[in-house]
């Protein structure tokens, strides 16, 4: 078995075609011979470590740090985890792969003690005692870095790292020791952080480093990383993968949860694929596996990895943004001189790592945020100072980044949500009085057309699944015939079936003559949907290019600010 490239500088090349392994539930006999060790050890660096650290040695076969047997968890009628069995050995990087909603986070939250399993057994380093709470998990050597960072924004890095295991001197908090610990960990693991910085002032990539330092500040045998690269530039992602490799080689096992196939192939030793809450596949022969193989296992059917679309036929300029400046919530510049044009019949993809002004840009375009200077025009209309009501009625559809916060009123029915922007227009209201029958009829029509899975249009929107919630928003924003559709992170947190549907509808809107501004942190989404790509960094466009033949690596560099 070949050794994965572990200098951490670039992802491995995609290997030749091969078939994915079938899931084999039989448990292997314990065999301590050299050949067998070599066969099962997925990370040969481990063999070079001393036995106490690696757990390997005479009689000790690749110490199993985490052993999960038949674990199940349900929430009401939703089976989040079904009979899951998996193992993590010392020094292994295990990837938990699955699409949104597959149950990966739920599984790991049980390992970390945040959720109690319904049935099944979790053994940590041979100890079968159930895990009570995070404090218990931490004391047993488990650390977790969550998808949404668990850091107190107003406190410093040192204070955050020390929280829960504070060092004191005579009853008073001892920050110096904490600072020293942070610096030491920072150097040892190549995770640069300043112990006295306020967390809220740090960029996202640094915050993640803080989270990892925090996890490592306790004695950790197993580090769980939940979607760690979601908010990183390609550069930062590679750095992180390098850190993971180093940690694994040093004896810390890693479980990393992701839906990004490339990363799995780049760094994992062992992959478990989850679908609808169950383990549907296990891959140890990473070298001979392709992203297509993984995607097929993830989704359960043969998948083609690109949206089918015709060439675009762009028409008149629909949206013209000139030298736009917008501030963020902390009154700092977020959009700093943004220029862009979107034509009717084309999809312009704004590629960039989150935090480079995209959110503020879209909110300003929608009228939800004040424009400091610059202009934005919809055809002939100057919308720079317009409010959301005016923007909408001028023909701008807006699929907001945060559907729970902005896109939907969870307590309202699906029907009311479908008319959220048109509630006071005919036929939904006449002279200020709402016409419920017309609203209902419209809602039924959209429910059918957009396949919104629910028990009726009267059902509250808050009780729908993520994908269906997004379908409500998409249905609403596409159905009034917008001239310009702004879609911000339109498929975040959405299951694959709904992703396909939404992508098709966006292309259909383009083909119907709308101009589409697509803002996404998922480069793959941009590459497959967009006709033209604008890479954004530091609040402005650094380069525009045609999507056809665009160089992924170059875009990655531009996204990181290398231009």
């Amino acid at each position: 078995m070949s050794t994965p490239a572990n200098d951490g500088t670039q992802p491995r090349g995609i290997p030749t075609e091969g078939t994915p392994t079938e899931y084999d539930p039989t448990v292997p006999e314990v065999d301590t011979s050299e050949e067998h060790l070599a066969a099962i050890v997925t990370n040969e660096e481990i063999l070079a470590l001393p036995a106490e650290v690696s757990g390997f040695g005479a009689g000790n076969v690749g110490e199993v740090i985490l052993d999960v047997k038949n674990l199940s968890k349900s929430f009401g009628s939703v089976h989040a985890n079904k009979d899951i069995t998996l193992q993590v050995r010392r020094g292994e990087i295990v990837a938990l792969l699955g699409e949104n909603g597959a149950g990966k986070s739920t599984l790991m939250n049980q390992i970390f003690g945040l959720i109690t399993p319904d049935t099944g057994e979790v053994t940590i380093k041979g100890d079968k005692t159930p895990i009570k709470d995070p404090k218990d998990a931490i004391s047993r050597g488990i650390g977790m870095v969550h998808q949404h960072f668990q850091l107190v924004p107003v406190m410093t890095v040192a204070e955050n790292v020390m929280l829960g295991h504070e060092t004191t001197k005579g009853g008073v908090l001892d920050l110096d020791t904490a600072r020293a610990m942070v610096r030491e960990l920072s150097e040892k693991h190549n995770l640069a952080v300043d112990p006295d910085a306020d967390v809220e002032d740090l960029p996202v990539g640094t915050q993640q480093r803080v989270e990892i330092v925090k996890a490592l500040s306790r004695k950790v045998d197993l580090l769980i990383l939940d979607e760690p690269t979601a908010v990183l530039t390609p550069q930062e992602t590679d750095e992180l993968l390098g850190v993971m490799r180093d940690l694994a080689n040093g004896g810390t096992s890693i479980v990393f949860i992701t839906h990004k196939l490339r990363e799995v192939l780049a760094v994992a030793d062992h992959v478990y694929v989850l679908r609808h809450g169950a383990v549907v596949g296990e891959v140890t022969d990473i070298a001979n596996t392709t992203t297509t193989d993984l995607a097929t296992m993830m989704v359960g059917r043969s998948v083609v990895l690109n949206v089918e679309k015709d060439a675009a036929t762009p028409g008149e300029v629909v949206l013209q943004i000139e030298n736009l400046h917008v501030k963020d919530d902390r009154n700092l510049g977020a959009v700093n001189g943004f220029d862009l044009q979107v034509r009717a019949g084309e999809i312009v993809g704004v590629a960039g790592v989150e935090g480079n002004g995209q959110r503020e840009l879209v909110e300003a375009l929608a009228g939800m945020r004040k424009v400091v200077s610059g202009t934005m025009r919809l055809g002939d209309l100057d919308l720079t100072k317009a409010n959301p009501y005016q923007t909408h009625h001028a023909g701008v559809g807006h699929i907001p980044e945060d559907r729970e916060k902005h896109g939907l009123v969870g307590a309202y029915s699906i029907a009311d949500n479908l008319v959220l922007n048109e509630y006071d227009q005919e036929p939904f209201a006449k002279s200020g009085v709402r016409q419920f029958d017309k609203i209902r009829a419209y809602a039924e029509k959209l429910r059918e057309e957009f396949d919104i899975r629910s028990s009726g249009v009267g059902q509250s929107a808050g009780s729908l699944s993520g994908g269906n919630k997004q379908k409500v928003v998409v249905a609403r924003e596409l159905s009034f015939g917008p001239k310009l559709l702004m879609a911000a992170q339109p498929t975040r947190g959405v299951d694959v079936g709904s992703i396909e549907f939404i992508h098709k509808r966006i292309v259909a809107a383009r083909d119907g003559g709308a101009g589409v501004l697509l803002v996404s942190a998922e480069l793959d989404e941009i590459l497959s949907l967009a006709d033209r790509i604008a890479v954004v960094h530091g609040g402005k466009v650094v380069k525009e290019m045609a999507a056809e033949g665009a160089d992924r690596a170059e875009i990655g560099r531009l996204m990181a600010g290398d231009h």
């Binding site: 945040l114 109690t116 995070p134 668990q150 107003v154 929280l163 829960g164 295991h165 504070e166 908090l173």
Partner: protein
């Protein structure tokens, strides 16, 4: 230093104004001035204690609108407890006990049952008014006056000693100790770090192994003891009687003071002293007929001041991040 003054412009201006007025008075008519300052301190004591209740609660993430009710019931319990039992100690213990019980009630309903914190406080206040109005009996008397002492050494400090340490009661001294003690605890101890964490971003504390629910319950309940002391001070020390509704909105003034003090005990104490001074000065000026405003309108001064202070402080100070939001552990 210059940067600090720039950031706290408003408070510095207020401080200077107060100092100037105090200085003028002090050098024109020392006796009246001293009685005015002592009145200010006496007015401020329950405000300081109640503001501390608010600070502890909100730093832990729980809004306590019910401080007014805690104050009123404790005043009631203290006074009638002492009157019926014939012992001041019994009165004090009843008052503090009621503060704890009501604090516990608020804590349990809002933290465990996740009741809306504002409504819980409003309900507490209405229940407090109901109970104290119905069971009120006129004509009761305290068995004795609360003892006052002068602290040797400290009471000879000019001005400060004469106001704070001469002829002072135990509760006023506890208030001073509490301000410094809680400030120290909040910013320099493990308890303080964890308390601030659960009020700013409780899930970070949760994943670090801290029991958010328990800490909130304990903090809010024990803080009630301070409200209890404030109530006892009101009906047994600064006056020797209980009247229906005698809390007169002090619980809410305390919240404004807490906000004005940016949820920091020392600054809140300064804000309380400010309120006390302004109230004392206003009634002194009115008594001296320097200003010619009818007494009922002068009486609205603390409330008007509250509105002004809140309007100014809003947007300049930052509440703890998670205050008012019930903490939910997902799953389980």
């Amino acid at each position: 230093m210059a940067a600090w003054i720039q950031r706290n412009k408003f408070s510095v201006i207020l401080g200077v104004v107060v100092l100037v007025l105090a200085y003028i008075y002090y050098f024109s008519d020392k006796t009246t001035a001293l009685s005015m300052y002592r009145y200010a301190w006496t007015y401020a004591v329950p405000l300081v204690l109640c503001a501390l209740v608010g600070v502890i609660g909100e730093r832990s993430g729980v809004v306590n609108i019910g401080i007014e009710g805690q104050l009123l019931v404790s005043a009631f319990a203290g006074f009638f407890g002492a009157a019926y039992s014939g012992s001041l100690i019994v009165g004090i213990l009843s008052g503090v006990g009621c503060g704890l019980i009501l604090g516990g009630f608020l804590a349990w309903t809002t933290v465990k049952w996740r009741m809306d914190q504002i409504i819980a406080g409003v309900v507490l206040n209405i229940v407090a008014t109901g109970i104290t109005s119905f069971y009120y009996k006129p004509g009761q008397l305290l068995p004795a006056l609360m003892p006052h002492w002068s602290i040797p050494g400290l009471s000879s400090i000019p001005l400060i000693g004469e106001v704070f340490f001469k002829g002072t009661g135990v509760i006023a001294l506890i208030a001073i100790i509490a301000v410094f003690g809680i400030h120290f605890a909040l910013f320099k101890t493990t308890w303080g770090l964890r308390t601030r964490a659960i009020g700013e971003y409780p899930s970070a504390a949760d994943t670090a192994g801290i029991n958010v629910i328990t800490m909130r319950l304990v903090n809010v309940t024990l803080a009630g003891a301070l409200a209890g002391l404030a109530g006892v001070f009101l009906s047994m020390d600064s006056t020797s009687s209980f009247e229906r509704g005698m809390s007169a909105g002090r619980g809410f003034l305390a919240l404004a003071i807490m906000i004005f003090g940016a949820w920091r005990p020392l600054r809140a104490a300064a804000a309380a002293l400010f309120f006390g001074f302004v109230t004392a000065a206003a009634s002194q000026l009115q008594a001296d007929q320097v200003i010619n405003v009818p007494p009922q309108l002068v009486g609205t001064l603390p409330y008007v001041l509250t509105l002004v202070v809140l309007a100014v402080a809003a947007g300049r100070v930052r509440a703890p991040g998670a205050v008012g939001q019930p903490f939910v552990k997902e799953g389980k």
